[in-house]
């Protein structure tokens, strides 16, 4: 029999239902792997006591037949989700002592369906970064390494702990958040499946805010089916988030295996980047071939404003962040520096509590919102955002999904880009437009580059059509026949 940590979420659920093993056995095995994998630095807080207690409760429900959809399944949660009574830091010194008195809606939905918290996962500070290197708790290490190369690689970001923990079989699935690619880029870097749902699909209540018009929660898993199972249990209409949708929540799992025959796949011209590596082009071509073989029609499309998406994002996201992060003043929660002068207290608290990337974004945001620059930058960006959204609306009149690479490259080395903010930002070039337009998109592992590192393909769908995305993603998954990492070098 396979080790319990090698099972996927779906198989673990079947095993529990068949009484092949107990939730406590499943959870204990995952705790052991979590502890032996500490060299990856994926977790900020481990919660073994909560996990074992929850597992005992799940076992009793499984025995009584009162089990729920995710009964007894251990998962990891990005440290951007508030968890009642459990340290929640956003990977920032600013919140290094924050114990929320409430639970986020998304995590609450999962616990209500029987899922079990293994621990809180590392991420870029306040989810600002593409490599997990801006975390106050240190970088996360990617379980993948290049061929014959000992160099440590980044797991992507900002949901780097989530992607690494899933790739390393520490958790059966993990929650991430995606503001400009923070689920899809790390999924691509670690050979995992990561979905950013339509804006409004998941409640944002209790998720530490970064850029409120772009933030969405989503699942990272080892396969497409697991992803659909987790997503279904995350969604709900939430009166506490006025942007949460009241649309019916489908059973996403049922769309897995649906034929894509006769459906139309758009290939956007503008995603061909100058200097794009042949390996990225090759994997993209393979994706087209796989979908074509399954009966889908491939159509060339144009999204003319694509090149403006990244600069547009780097005005809007910092603007919203500078406003959202104004709450960290050392008065009500979090890090605080004493002073007899209130302004000095604010400044000292914020200067000590925030790291450089967060400060950079607050400064950019404050600049583009400041008097005299608001129209030229912030308002201009919101207008360009309309044009980008319009590009997608038009194209979706003639295609069902859009296929692109997830990232312009595979995982890069630790410290390789951390001194150059702009070159780091460029990593989100294929993922950012999706957030601006509020669309759903997934990254599915499609193969390895010549260096032996995973590459992902991105499928972008119409608003609230995650089901179509999952049907296509399953075709790519079956065609690519991607194998998870085998050499567990990090286990101690």
């Amino acid at each position: 029999m396979k080790k319990l940590t090698e099972l996927c979420l779906y198989d673990a659920r079947e095993g529990l239902l068949n009484k092949d093993f107990t939730s406590k056995e499943l959870v204990l095995d995952h705790i052991a792997v979590m502890e032996s994998s500490r060299s990856l630095n994926a977790f900020i807080t481990e919660t073994p006591e909560i996990a074992i207690k929850s597992a005992e409760n799940s076992d009793s429900r499984l025995n009584k037949g009162t089990n729920r959809d995710l009964e007894g399944i251990p998962i990891g949660v990005k440290d951007m989700f508030c968890t009642k009574g459990v340290l929640t830091t956003a990977s920032s010194k600013m919140l290094s002592n924050f114990i929320p008195p409430y639970e986020s809606t998304v995590t609450n939905n999962l616990w209500n369906e029987g899922a079990i918290l293994l621990g809180k996962l590392n991420n870029d500070e306040f989810a600002m970064g593409s490599s997990n290197e801006t975390s106050f708790y240190g970088p996360v290490i990617n379980p993948w390494k290049g061929n014959n190369n000992e160099q440590n690689l980044v797991p992507g970001g900002s949901s780097g702990g989530s992607s690494a923990s899933v790739a390393a079989n520490i958790s059966l699935g993990a929650l991430g958040t995606d503001t400009g690619g923070s689920i899809r880029q790390p999924a691509s870097f670690t050979g995992t499946v990561g979905l950013k749902p339509t804006y409004g699909r998941c409640s944002r209540w209790g998720i530490i805010a970064f850029a409120s018009s772009l933030d969405q929660a989503g699942p990272i898993t080892r396969n497409v089916r697991d992803n659909a199972i987790l997503l279904k249990n995350m969604c709900s209409h939430d009166p506490k988030d006025t942007t949460s949708s009241s649309k019916k929540i489908p059973n996403f799992e049922e769309s897995i295996g649906n034929s894509v025959k006769g459906l139309k796949v758009g290939i956007p011209n503008e995603f061909f980047q100058e200097g794009m590596s042949n390996e990225i082009i090759d994997i993209w071509d393979k994706g087209k071939e796989w979908l074509k073989k399954s009966g889908a029609e491939i159509i060339d499309i144009s999204l003319p404003n694509t090149k403006y998406a990244l600069p547009c994002y780097y005005i809007i996201a910092p603007a919203e962040a500078s406003s959202n992060l104004a709450r960290y003043d050392g008065v009500r929660f979090g890090h605080s520096v004493n002073s007899s002068d209130i302004n000095e207290m604010y400044r000292a608290t914020r200067s000590e509590g925030f790291g450089d990337e967060v400060k950079r974004r607050i400064m950019i945001g404050t600049y583009v919102l400041s008097s005299g620059y608001y129209d030229a930058y912030y308002l201009k960006a919101q207008k360009v955002r309309s044009l980008i959204t319009e590009d997608y609306n038009k194209v979706f009149n003639s295609v069902d999904v859009i296929l692109t690479p997830s990232t312009p490259n595979s995982a890069f080395g630790l410290n390789e880009k951390s001194d150059d903010p702009l070159s780091m930002y460029l990593n989100d070039i294929f993922t950012v437009p999706v957030n601006l337009a509020g669309l759903p998109a997934i990254s599915v592992p499609a193969g390895l580059d010549s260096n032996g590192l995973p590459l992902g393909l991105q499928l972008i769908g119409k608003p609230f059509e995650e089901e179509t995305i999952y049907s296509f993603a399953k075709v790519i998954e079956d065609s690519a026949n991607f194998k998870n990492i085998e050499n567990q070098w990090w286990v101690q």
Binding site: N97, F98, P101, Y102, Y199, G200, S213, P239, T242, T243, N305, Y308, P311, Y314, I315, S322, G330, V331, R332, G334, S336, S339, S340, D341, I342, M345, Y346, R347, A348, R350, S351, F354, K359, R360, I362, M363, I364, Y367, V368, S370, A376, Y377, L379, K380, A381, Q382, K383, V384, R385, S386, L387, T389, P421, L422, Y425, L436, A437, G438, L439, P463
Partner: protein, 97 residues
Amino acid sequence: MSVDKDNVVKIAKLSKISFKDDEIEKFQEDLNQIIDWVDQLSEVNTETVSPTFSSFDNDKGMKKREDIINDGNYREDITVNAPNSEEGFFLVPKVID
């Protein structure tokens, strides 16, 4: 250089963040690099375009609930994370002399 040193100092003041002199220079450099790069948006014609502030599907508009109290009575929970609190209040340094 679109953002000069005085401007950086002013933004820092608005952001309630203080920097040492050598940090100011580094942030000025980073900020200029980023602002110069986002400046490419100026080449887009947006004369007749209205802004999008959220991609939330506004078909039916934002939902509003009845204006009635539906929450409360947990003052302790709210002040429990405060560095300084007393009798259910947050404590701050003296603001008005």
